[in-house]
Symmetry: C2
Subunit: 494 residues, 2 copies
């Protein structure tokens, strides 16, 4: 055998062994999720641990999320800008709590070319510190407020834990909103606007329900007065924090000297907010909806909603392909794909597009042509139906909406079923052991939070919903048994 | 005087001294350009030298450029993706010429948190090396080709020269296209598609003419077989390289082992291209069109094309403002602004919007109302005309087109007037001394290029146009006096 042939044979063998399909069930979450990432061509590892390659399908979804958020931000008068990647050590260290929160995971640039730098430069883990230096220069009077800027950028946090694609990694993409107001009331009013946008994107586009609430003291963003978060329930029973909103009050304004003169010539510190949504949401969405055949995508966020697969026989090939092309132009608004590759059999294509999560597959062969119909297959629940050509556009629109709703409802059921109210630490432990979320009465004491974490092998307060059960006044903290301040969601988290 | 009052007084004094307008003429280019950047709120310095803050107006222009390019890339079947910011030293160093070209300006991450890293990580100066590691894994057969990916990201090159906002800095934003083909012919055919897109964006949107041609051997991108560039002529007589396209042939494919099996089972190296356009183009555009009153923007790229400034008197205020709001909804498609701030006088507003480069100002006062007309002011040439309200939409559309054309024609004249054909080194020197571009016969010898640079205090071959004068065969190289291979554009460059 010559060398070229040997390579061919070896490659074929590798492909065979590696298996094109997912080889494990969703229960084996970690392996299943890795296979989905790699085999649906969503992401790949790079030679830097924890730094992911985001492949075109996943990136297209991110672009769609970004654009939908961005459109809504702009309607609120938020404008985009860009701030440097690098932050001098001295700038980073001005706000003490903030830097304490981030410095364990900051990557430092210390050399450039052959030169050792005089001061270490941090790669931004988030940009408050570098942005607020500028804000301090730009903001002088009430006329400069509100100042509402947003960034779409990459940030780096040197996690030392085991990386999980999209969910826990060192580099990710996100938005950073940084707004400044002249008074607390206006600043706090932004909370509902922003969380409303994030909720809409997560629920209506990604088909992901969440728990929305305020973070406990221990989990509040370093440098914020309070943090509002959206928490998502994953198939392995862990929770993941999604988008969040931080009201910083005057904390950063004091550290970075952001002051303004009001109409009466009085000088005050400004009131600030920050908020973010990241590529982590892609991981949550892929994990929640997909199955052992591969990726499942909600139609509203899927880059391609339909794939047309012709069933080709020699004698009817031309006719079928002609019809396919007609359908392509009719179904163009669904960003449809036509898979007319002749080197693969239909069954092979079915598997490939199921793996890649195209919401609807349309099969069309000579028999379908005779009946003026096509076969429509739903990726989410595997159901098939014959649809008359004359009804195709309408029916496809309906089915796409049905899929969107089905995925959201399913995820919502799963979340609702996971929430169990508890009244004691023993009950909490049992719920956590079952990989569920304990809705627990707790006090505000940060010691109790620390004890909770220690005694549950890492569970934590996810957040505290606004709407509290009336009985909270009569309940006791499951940790210290003293009067409870609130009911909070408690779970294991990424 | 108490402390707060003192601060107020000091701030007022600073504002007064700093002057709101541009204090120098365009001839004093460096100072003028810096003032345009800062006073038109386009950019600001950060605490890391050479790393710029891109403020909302400039960033909105970048978004528009990006989106127009991106739309066209997608039509060619190019898909977006994301690759890591950090590149391990060993990955970066696989292609020798490439790394030699970049390593003097690479910033290195050597520490994370409190840990010293085992291997230095480069912040990407460009992403060939990290991308092609993935390509080597992904590309196996002719079925995987062409692979056409693009990135919109930030890159860092640690320049040690004096930074100039947008034009020469350490961090910038750009696109990196990285395409892979199975054969050289298809790969090279992409050149005209991509350069066509860049030319359209630069000419039709940014109103910037350029010199398009092939880079000389010395100036070819490290790792490419050849580079095609667009070179722009700046008001100070320097040239700037804009977008470029590199055909890499098999050079990277060999270094990073990017091979595929063709239909006959034969294995070959793939053929590659890369291409880019960056935020540097913002600097070129700001510099070429603007004047001593501030920024001038071509309407097609301006985030806001019109500003309406009401002339307010107590007795007619409500009427005028009502009309302004009517106009705002009529002129909405021009992304119009209404400046109804009462704390500033019209003259102050005129100056501000001229500084910020809004292409058209519409003035409307009680007398205009009586005549059913408004005053329309053109930022580019300072001309004013009264326009009847019933004609306003049409006339404004026309004027915007006139401005776009006027700016392009003016820049084109300036470029054409700067190109002087020369036949000897003495003539070349004279042309360069006049801050113009010498169109010079040269040979291919890299020694001649080096001598040219040394003996002209830094001028270089900008590029070599495709269309050559017929006399090239009879001409001699201005450096070595031997037979010339081509006529090339020679100038000083950023």
């Amino acid at each position: 055998m010559d060398k070229a042939k040997k390579i061919v044979e070896a490659k074929k063998e590798t492909e065979k062994q590696s298996g094109l399909g997912i080889t494990v069930e969703k229960d084996d979450f970690s392996e299943w999720f890795t296979q989905i990432m790699l085999k649906a061509d969503l992401a790949d590892y790079s030679s830097v641990s924890g730094c992911l390659v985001i492949r075109p399908t996943a990136y297209a979804i991110w672009e769609k999320m970004r654009d939908e958020c961005d459109k809504r931000f702009k309607k609120l008068g938020i404008r985009n800008a860009y701030f440097p990647l690098l932050i001098p050590e001295k700038t980073l260290k001005k706000e003490k709590e903030h830097v304490a929160g981030f410095s364990p995971e900051v990557a430092w640039v210390t050399e450039a070319g052959d030169t050792k730098l005089k001061e270490r430069l941090a790669i931004r883990p988030t940009s408050e510190t570098i942005i607020y230096e500028s804000y301090s220069k730009w903001i002088r009077s009430w006329r400069d407020l509100p100042l509402k800027l947003n960034l779409w950028n990459n940030v780096l946090r040197w996690e030392f834990k085991h990386p999980v694609p999209f969910l826990r990694g060192r580099e990710f993409l996100w938005n950073e909103g940084h707004t400044v107001y002249s008074n607390k009331e206006d600043a706090e009013a932004e909370k509902d606007e922003i969380m409303g946008i994030y909720k809409e994107i997560c629920e209506d586009y990604l088909a992901l329900p969440s728990l929305i609430g305020r973070k406990s003291k221990k989990e509040t963003f370093p440098g914020a007065e309070y943090t509002i978060s959206m928490e998502f329930y994953m198939p392995n029973g862990r929770c993941t924090q999604g988008p969040d909103f931080h009201h910083d009050g005057e904390i950063f304004a004091k550290a970075y000297d952001i002051k303004f003169l009001d109409k009466d010539g009085k000088e005050s510190y400004a009131q600030q907010n920050t908020f973010a949504i990241s590529t982590r949401m892609l991981g949550v969405m892929f994990a929640v909806h997909s199955d052992s055949k591969g990726l499942i995508l909600p139609p509203k966020i899927a880059p391609n909603k339909i794939v047309i697969v012709p069933i080709l026989f020699e004698d009817s090939k031309d006719k079928v392909l002609k019809k396919c092309k007609e359908l392509m132009s009719k179904l163009g608004k669904f960003e449809s794909l036509l898979d007319d590759r002749e080197e693969y059999k239909p069954g092979w294509k079915f598997n490939e597009w199921e793996m890649k999560g195209i919401p609807i597959r349309i099969e069309i062969g000579p028999k379908d042509l005779e009946n003026d119909s096509v076969m429509v297959y739903r990726r989410d629940n595997g159901k098939k139906e014959a649809v008359k050509l004359k009804n195709l556009e309408d029916r496809v629109s309906e089915i796409l909406e049905e899929i969107q709703k089905y995925l959201f409802d399913k995820a919502k059921d799963s979340l609702n079923n996971a929430i169990i109210e508890v009244a004691s630490f023993e009950e909490m432990l049992r719920v956590l052991k079952e990989k569920k979320i304990a809705f627990s009465p707790l006090c505000e004491n940060i010691k109790c939070e620390e004890n909770l974490k220690a005694e549950t092998q890492g569970a934590k307060v996810l957040n505290i919903p606004d709407k509290q059960p009336t009985k909270v006044g009569k309940s006791v903290c499951v940790i210290c048994k003293k009067k409870a301040n609130y009911f909070a969601y408690v779970g294991k988290s990424y």
